[in-house]
């Protein structure tokens, strides 16, 4: 992983003009994606994580959308790229796996045809050869009797099998970047584990970098190398898996970690939850957007905190919280192996 980043995103902003005003879905997002790594982007529904991911593929170019910032992929600027340039990237260089395998495949087209279509859009491969490749791909992603399933329609497959088809589709042109948007959310737990394993082993085999978008921090502990936590359009904390899980800096991250139910621990009296709701993206609070839900809020939070390294010597671990590092470590509620949102000193009695 000594080579330079594959994808460099700088100050990416996406906003949509809607009835309720300007919706700032993505705001000042900056990150690098290194070859072969799994970067997890985590946040609640409506935090802009999916919009961010789709923007990288140019799938959010609606008439009411405005874009800022840059995203460089192998010498190409994705945000300003022309449609034809982007089309050549999509599916071939950057491929995407969507959340709902039930609705993400065309219901009236055979699954093989849907994959062949992508192969032929990028490579001048004859139909029989493409078909052969599809059979091999389906086999590789763990679909039993793969050769027969080439001609299956999506409704003839279970949810887990469809998601495997989506993975096969994404892999079919050997992309360098795989964007998986909540790839396991719609599936049963046992199938979730199988699909995560599939994504991870394919990363190991092909060396493709993965951006895994999810609302569930629990899922990413298994396969992520680095994690970016998003809240209300901004990245609020970013670091290695270990940094995020064992030394989280932002109170929102504490809250997310705390709300994971753990079956390997004693049952708590009450499930820890983050009180309140994320703000509307059309009307975000000034300064730190998490302020209204944060028990640790103080005067300085009215100014926007920058995303910077706050721990000396750890330039890989960035966050947007004004609290001094020592104070954070003191305040976050750390039971053995567990981290909660914590309470402000003195307010604990309530």
């Amino acid at each position: 992983m000594s080579s330079g980043p594959l994808l460099t995103v700088r100050d990416l902003g996406v906003s949509f003009t809607a009835e309720e005003g300007v919706v700032r879905a993505v705001d000042g997002v900056t990150f690098d994606l290194l070859p072969g790594e799994v970067l997890a982007v985590v946040g609640e529904s409506g935090c802009g994580k999916s919009v961010m991911a789709m923007t990288l593929m140019g799938l959010t170019r609606f008439p009411n959308a405005r874009f800022e910032g840059t995203a460089h992929y192998k010498g190409l600027e994705l945000i300003d790229a022309g449609e034809e340039e982007l089309r050549r990237i999509r599916g071939a260089e950057i491929a995407m796996i969507f959340q709902d395998p039930m609705s993400s495949l065309n219901p009236v087209m055979r699954v093989g045809e849907q994959i062949i279509e992508q192969i032929q859009a990028h490579e001048g491969v004859p139909a029989t050869e493409a078909r052969e490749r599809v059979a091999q791909l389906l086999d590789r992603v763990g679909i039993p009797r793969a050769r027969d399933r080439v001609d299956a329609y999506p409704f003839e497959l279970s949810g887990g099998m469809r998601q495997r088809v989506m993975i096969a589709l994404a892999l079919s042109c050997g992309p360098s970047v795989l964007i998986a948007d909540e790839p396991t959310t719609a599936l049963d737990v046992t199938i979730q584990a199988q699909i995560l394993h599939q994504i991870q082993s394919l990363r190991d085999e092909t060396g493709a970098a993965v951006i895994l978008v999810t609302h569930d921090l629990g899922v990413v502990a298994e396969i992520a190398d680095r994690i970016a936590v998003m809240y209300a359009g901004r990245i609020v904390e970013q670091g290695t898996v270990n940094a995020i899980f064992y030394d989280p800096q932002h109170p929102y991250t504490w809250g997310l970690l705390g709300s994971i139910t753990r079956v390997d621990r004693a049952r708590p009296e009450r499930l820890p939850a983050i009180a309140g709701l994320p703000p509307s993206l059309a009307d975000r609070p000034e300064g730190c957007h998490f302020r209204p839900r944060c028990p640790h809020e103080f005067d300085r939070c009215r100014d926007v905190p920058p995303l910077v390294a706050r721990i000396d010597g750890d330039d890989d671990h960035l966050d947007r919280c004004w609290l001094p590092v020592e104070e954070k470590r003191e305040r976050r509620e750390v039971r053995p192996g567990e981290i909660g949102l914590g309470r402000k000193p003195g307010a604990a009695a309530a």
Binding site: E44, S45, G46, G142, S158, G159, G160, M161, D188, V189, T190, I191, Q192, A193, Q194, L196, H197, Q198, Q200, S201, H215, D216, L217, G218, V219, A221, E222, I223, V241, N242, F245, Y246, G255, L256, L257, S259, I260, T261, R262, V263, D264, R267, P268, E269, R270, L271, P272, A273, I274, A275, L277, G337
Partner: protein, 390 residues
């Protein structure tokens, strides 16, 4: 927590004094598949619920867990009498309602309410929240002038503002909509609420809020819950007992805490292993993902491979045997009965996990076992070598 009863684990008979609120006996729900030229004949049946015996005590929460297609939703709808049972009986407050017609069910419908999975689809988008909550009141003939006060009170109860009554569902987030769904279910002061995957469509951070709310409501109002979920982690906090279903049959019924520390059935263990643990170092040690996927047990832990088979043609013997790492010839041939372990923990497995030889030898065949199950109780010899989570 003190209000909440801790009823006899796993047992509908042990508490003795009070009759269970809901009693399901040898219930079968089959959906026929018809085909034919001019006259349609039945060519097969989906064995959705295949001989289930289960009780739900007054005031308890029973978690009903299994993968999609295991019959958990059909079982819950049969209890609500929304689908017709093929065989067996359903009792509510001791009264047999298996065959009850609309008129006899009418008063019972008040007492059984349902909260659905998808908070986006289960609320009429053209009705104001107040109207949605008022609807069950109106249908059951509550006086008109009382309704607005009641709606305000219900909204407050589920943690929304009384002013929200005038808004439309689309103005709310998923979690808030699920609160509205709960308020609607509470309107008639039911005794039983069937929660059908009430938090599966929500963010993890919001799931906790809803579960805490359900917990509080149960404490305040003495509600009985049947909590249906596909994921053991969700039901853990709120359940007193948990029943694990697979392909129409009960695999294990256990007091909630014990199920997590001591899963006896390999299927329960597989479901537990599949839950991701938010601890990167522990995962690396556990090597779950690396070992799983294919379904081959390696390093002691494995994620179960494959998918549940077709319920039209369930496997012989133990229905889980094709996916089970411990399956033997016996499992292919003889359906295991629900064996009763210490503390009323039931499990239908020939080769149980996490129990000592003495415990295994001491088991008895529970009367809630399917009628088709064999008489072979688990042998002590198969009990060693645990696959459980540790």
């Amino acid at each position: 927590m003190s209000v909440k009863a801790e009823p006899g684990p796993g047992d509908i008979r042990r508490t003795g004094a009070s009759k269970p609120l809901v009693e399901v006996r040898h219930l079968k729900v089959f959906f026929p598949i018809r085909q034919g030229f001019l006259v349609e004949r039945e060519v097969g049946r989906v064995h959705a619920v295949n001989d289930v015996t289960l009780g739900i005590e007054q005031g308890e929460t029973l978690g009903l867990v299994g993968e999609s297609g295991c019959g958990k939703t059909t079982l819950s709808r049969a209890i609500m009498r929304l689908v017709d049972p093929t065989k067996g009986s359903i009792r509510f407050r001791g009264e047999d309602i298996t065959e009850a017609g609309r008129r006899r069910l009418e008063p019972m419908r008040r007492e059984m309410q349902m909260v659905f999975q998808d908070p986006f689809a289960s609320l009429n988008p053209r009705k104001r929240v107040g109207q949605i909550i008022r609807m069950p009141l109106r249908l059951h003939g509550a006086p008109r002038d009382e309704a607005p006060d009641r709606v305000r009170e219900l909204l407050r109860r589920v943690g929304l503002h009384p002013e929200h009554a005038n808004r439309y569902p689309h103005e709310f987030s998923g979690g808030q909509r699920q609160r509205i769904g709960v308020a609607r279910a509470l309107a008639l002061e039911p005794s039983l609420i069937v929660l059908d995957e009430p938090v599966s469509a929500l963010d993890v951070s919001v799931q906790a809020q809803i579960i805490n709310l359900l917990d509080d409501l149960q404490d305040d109002m003495g509600l009985t819950y049947l909590f249906v979920a596909h994921d053991l982690s969700v039901v853990r906090h709120i359940s007193d007992r948990i029943a694990v279903m697979y392909l129409g049959k009960l695999m294990e019924v256990s007091p909630a805490q014990e199920l997590y520390s001591k899963p006896i059935h390999p299927y329960t263990s597989a479901l537990l292993t599949a839950i991701p643990i938010p601890d990167p170092e522990a995962n690396r040690r556990r090597g779950r993902v690396a070992a799983g996927g294919g379904g081959t047990p390696r390093g002691g832990v494995a994620v179960v491979g494959g998918e549940p088979p077709n319920p039209v043609d369930p496997p012989s013997g133990c229905v889980f045997h094709p996916r089970c790492p411990r399956a033997t010839e016996l499992c292919r041939e003889v359906e295991p009965p629900l064996a009763r372990y210490r503390g009323g923990h039931l499990a239908a497995c020939h080769h149980p996990l996490n129990v000592s030889r003495e415990e295994t030898v001491a088991t008895t065949r529970d009367p809630s076992s399917p009628l088709s199950a064999g008489d072979v109780l688990p042998d002590g010899a198969a009990a060693e070598g645990s696959l459980g989570t540790s």
